[in-house]
């Protein structure tokens, strides 16, 4: 399991964080997503053998958001 933070600059309300967190219900291999409208970012804890960063970014795009990989936490 690794934890990575993505910057999401186009969040415009606290509901956006809820929408982004719903990605954890769609993609296998994601343990938890914590999105913050205040910080304009989401932290994703995931199993890199099951899901990739690109898939997470693509899932965010499907929701209407541009996620950019930011700082890395392990």
């Amino acid at each position: 399991m690794i934890k990575k933070t993505f910057s999401v600059p186009d969040m415009h309300c606290s509901n956006c964080s809820m929408r982004l967190e719903s990605i954890e219900d769609i993609l296998d291999g994601i343990k938890e997503i914590n999105a913050s409208y205040h910080k304009q970012q989401m932290t994703v804890e995931f199993d890199e053998t099951k899901v990739s960063e690109e898939q997470i970014i693509a899932a965010a795009k499907k929701k209407g958001y541009t996620a950019v990989l930011g700082e890395k936490k392990t």
Binding site: H12, C13, M18, R19, E21, S22, D25, S36, H38, G64
Partner: protein, 398 residues
């Protein structure tokens, strides 16, 4: 959003319901605006008058204000539910070479109605509780003024957030705790009747500025029945806007939602400033727009509405449209008797406040109430207002 995922709606039912809500609102507004004393009494007096005012507040300011705080979250939660339905449908395995049968969607108008129904019920119950609690305590004008200023500040901050003025304003948007959003999200995946009912009930935890003001008004009634009826009428008034939002966010997509947010931001900014101004009026501050303009404008402008009384007796007519004259003149360094005269007055002008004297009284619908004002030094501007900070005036001692 691709065409495949675009929610299919039941536009006839949606539009019919929308028209129903709006017609009801227009009829109530028309009843209020029609001439005739009988109707004026209905809109301004007692129980029915309070209900009408609550409903119209919900329909106009309340609906828009609630959008800023809870509309996006909850309407989009409905959209999320629909989106999840489609994701579920689109991830179903497709058989090769076989034409897929048309996918039937459940009636989407029903969840919206259930959502609004739950909101109505929960806020009515909240009204019962507030009215009951209010029977034990009374909000003083200064407390109400502080509340209004705080609410106005919150609304202006929210509007600036929506305009994306500075990242600091994001903190005016309260992020619900993660365990709540997670629970809401997981519950919203269900398609049963419970989901929208639950989401509607949840709005009680994130009341908007105007709702909070209405809650304060319900508290001030000191009666569970009146409190419940006021909150019911107010929430019913907010329903058409909520209905439209649910429709717009789910049907017209994110682009329209962003446009709508800008529209809401303008409305919330104006309402926030009005609320802030009302709070300043109620506090007796010379910095409110009305008091500032009254102080700065040359006295000739107010001359027709002013009167100078030498014998220490002032008469102020308290009418449905406000206080007349709006500027009273009195001798300085002499005690003054202010006579408040009502004649079939039913509006909130009856809730008379002189902040500087901490004087507050609900005047009779018809009659005269005397207020003894101690001697004031020359140049004193003593402001008076209704308890909502809407109608104002001033006594100038010279």
């Amino acid at each position: 959003m691709s065409n495949e995922r675009k929610p299919v709606f039941d536009p006839v039912i949606l539009v019919a319901l929308g028209i129903g809500f709006i017609t009801m609102a227009v009829v109530m507004l028309a009843l209020q605006n029609q001439g005739g004393q009988e109707l004026a009494i209905n809109t301004g007096s007692g129980f029915s008058g309070r209900l009408m005012v609550s409903f119209i507040t919900g329909l106009t300011t309340g609906g828009l204000s609630c959008l800023a705080v809870q509309g996006g979250l909850l309407a989009s939660s409905l959209a999320h539910q629909i989106e999840q339905d489609y994701l579920a449908l689109s991830t179903q395995p497709k058989k090769r070479g076989k034409k897929q049968p048309p996918q039937k969607r459940t009636n989407t108008a029903l969840p919206i109605l259930l959502f609004l129904l739950a909101k109505l019920v929960v806020y009515t119950l909240l009204g019962v509780l507030l009215g009951w609690a209010g029977s034990f305590l009374t909000l003083s004008p200064i407390t109400r003024a502080t509340l209004m200023i705080a609410i106005g500040f919150f609304m202006v901050g929210n509007a600036l957030r929506m305009f994306n003025v500075h990242p600091i304003f994001r903190y005016f948007n309260i992020e619900p705790p993660k365990f709540i959003t997670r629970y809401v999200r997981r519950t919203a995946k269900g398609t049963d009747a419970f989901t929208p009912l639950f989401l509607g009930a949840l709005t009680v935890f994130i009341p908007c500025g105007v709702t909070q003001a209405m809650m304060a008004a319900a508290l001030a009634t000191g009666s569970p029945t009146t409190g419940a009826a006021m909150m019911f009428a107010f929430t019913l008034g907010t329903s058409p806007v909520f209905f439209l939002v649910a429709y717009l966010t789910t049907e017209l997509g994110a682009r329209m939602e962003k446009f709508f947010i800008r529209f809401v931001a303008v409305a919330v900014l104006i309402l926030g400033l009005v609320t802030l101004d009302g709070g300043l009026n109620l506090m007796g501050s010379p910095l409110s727009l009305q008091n500032l303009s009254r102080s700065l404008l040359p006295s000739e402008n107010n001359a027709s509405a002013s009167q100078f009384v030498a014998d220490g007796r002032l008469v102020l007519n308290v009418e449905n449209e406000g206080y007349f004259p709006q500027t009273l003149r009195a001798n300085a360094n002499t005690p003054v008797q202010l006579n408040l005269v009502t004649d079939k007055t039913y509006s909130c002008a009856r809730d008379f406040v002189i902040p500087a004297l901490s004087f507050y009284e609900l005047l009779p619908e018809t009659g005269t109430v005397q207020v003894d004002i101690p001697a004031q030094p020359s140049g004193t501007r003593m402001f008076f207002t209704c308890s909502m900070g809407m109608y104002t005036g001033m006594i100038l001692f010279e």
